[in-house]
């Protein structure tokens, strides 16, 4: 009996979590603007495929995610190794600064960057979006690499130098393989955060440069329900 209740509870929560996704999946094939079944159609998907602005925002989302996550990973990997070498107050200061974007609300990150770009007269557009995405994802990269550095034995690196390896060669052959899982995880987190971000992008985008989340938000506010439904399925 208790076993049944437990299973029922898990099933119920999963049902609530996935019910809207499932229902919308069905209705994305519905040939009617109202949520009443009228017949099977692909027309919402065709609309989506034919809408240039949506394709454009998709391309922007991918460009921003790829560029920002690669740069964030590069900066973050170097920073993690640098911070790892630091001692005392410098190290604490850098770690605390790294925690700021993690702990401050998205909306504050968004508006503070927006004000910076305003003050510096940087026109809003692709560059501002990429910069803001790098800014909020680099700390995640650093924090996913730091534990790996902590685990590794630096004597091995020094041994490599003693045996005549150049610093770059020793880095590639000794340090990099050790921290690689952290680097990959960081890259993955940065990429996902970038694709999924709405709030920061919302404040730092310029005219004509929409990412998918911004596009979806704009469509949702206009009440373009039906056009949105195929998105659900594509994002799954």
């Amino acid at each position: 009996m208790i076993k049944f209740i437990k299973r029922f509870y898990v099933a119920l929560i999963l049902l609530i979590m996935y019910a809207p996704v499932a229902v919308l999946m069905v209705f994305s094939f519905n040939d009617s603007k109202l949520p009443i079944w009228k017949g099977f159609t692909f027309k919402w998907y065709e609309n989506l495929a034919n809408d240039m602005s949506i394709q454009q925002s998709f391309v922007y989302t991918i460009i921003i995610a790829v560029v920002s996550s690669l740069i964030a990973t590069a900066i973050g990997t170097l920073a993690a190794m640098g911070i790892h070498q630091m001692k005392g107050y410098k190290r604490n200061l850098m770690l605390n600064i790294t925690y700021i974007p993690l702990l401050s609300p998205d909306i504050v990150i968004g508006i503070s960057l927006m004000m910076l770009f305003n003050v510096l007269h940087i026109p809003f557009g692709l560059p501002t979006l990429i910069i803001s995405h790098i800014t909020f994802s680099t700390p995640y990269v650093i924090l996913s690499i730091m534990p790996k550095l902590k685990q590794m034995n630096f004597n091995v690196y020094e041994a490599a130098l003693d045996l005549g390896a150049t610093p770059w060669y020793a880095f590639r052959k000794v340090i990099l393989p050790e921290i690689m899982p952290g680097v990959i995880a960081g890259l993955f987190i940065a990429f996902t955060l970038s694709i999924d971000d709405f709030v920061v992008s919302f404040f730092n985008t310029g005219a004509g440069v929409d990412t998918l989340p911004i596009k979806i938000y704009a469509m949702a506010r206009k009440g373009l329900t039906q056009q949105l439904m195929p998105f659900q399925q594509l994002c799954l």
């Binding site: 996704v21 949520p35 927006m114």
Partner: protein, 270 residues
Amino acid sequence: MNKKSLAYPYVIWAGIFIIVPLLLIVYFSFFVDGQFTFQNYTKFMEDYYIKAMGKSISLAFISTTICLLLAYPLAMVLNGKDISNRGVILLLIILPMWMNSLLRTYAWANLLENNGVINNVLAALNLPTVKFLYGDGGVIFGMVYNFFPFMVLPIYNALAKIDKGLIEAAYDLGANDITTFRKVILPLSMPGVVTGIIMVFMPALTTFLITRLLGGGKVMLIGNIIEEQFTRTGDLGFGSAVSMILMIIVLITLAFMSRKGTLDEEGGLF
């Protein structure tokens, strides 16, 4: 080779894009046209804004509580031995975290709308329709739905880490189920609970999106007020002041919570 220098690109980046923007918020909240003033902060003392702040905190608190009450039993069940395919279920619970939260919120808005799917079904069955959306209830629902996985995961991780020997020892020493839970399981899972509370309370406190989509513009939370200052009224000073106040509340909450547990490895977030 001085390897500290590797951090310099990041130091410069963090200086320009993390520190300076925060200083700008501080500056704009205190200076209007180059004059030092508290007017942005005194404006916040108006009834309307204080109420919005109170409402933000109470809605975030309610949804965090609901998340906790739903997630703790779930995490315990998943950690127990009665569930065979726990890996799959855990994956299903985490999976929505990778879906766009906008779309998930919007999906529910679609179902719950006044002429949405659920009400259509009710109408077809000749039952009275229900007004789910465009009020506090809808917003709380959206928060719980959106942030629920962030509560389950840390609690599950904390529970899974508990040494089963301790629980068996408690039983051997004559404790019953309730005592064991109260004296062994609950205290040992506290780091996970604290992490979960932070992970739900923070985004719930600052959201402006869920309110927009599920509150129908009738519920004004602190996030909405900040957003409005920057996108519509253009009152940067006041918007900065509200952001400062929000940051202070966040910091106080974090300080308060981290005294009760730690955000580090124990919390099981990373």
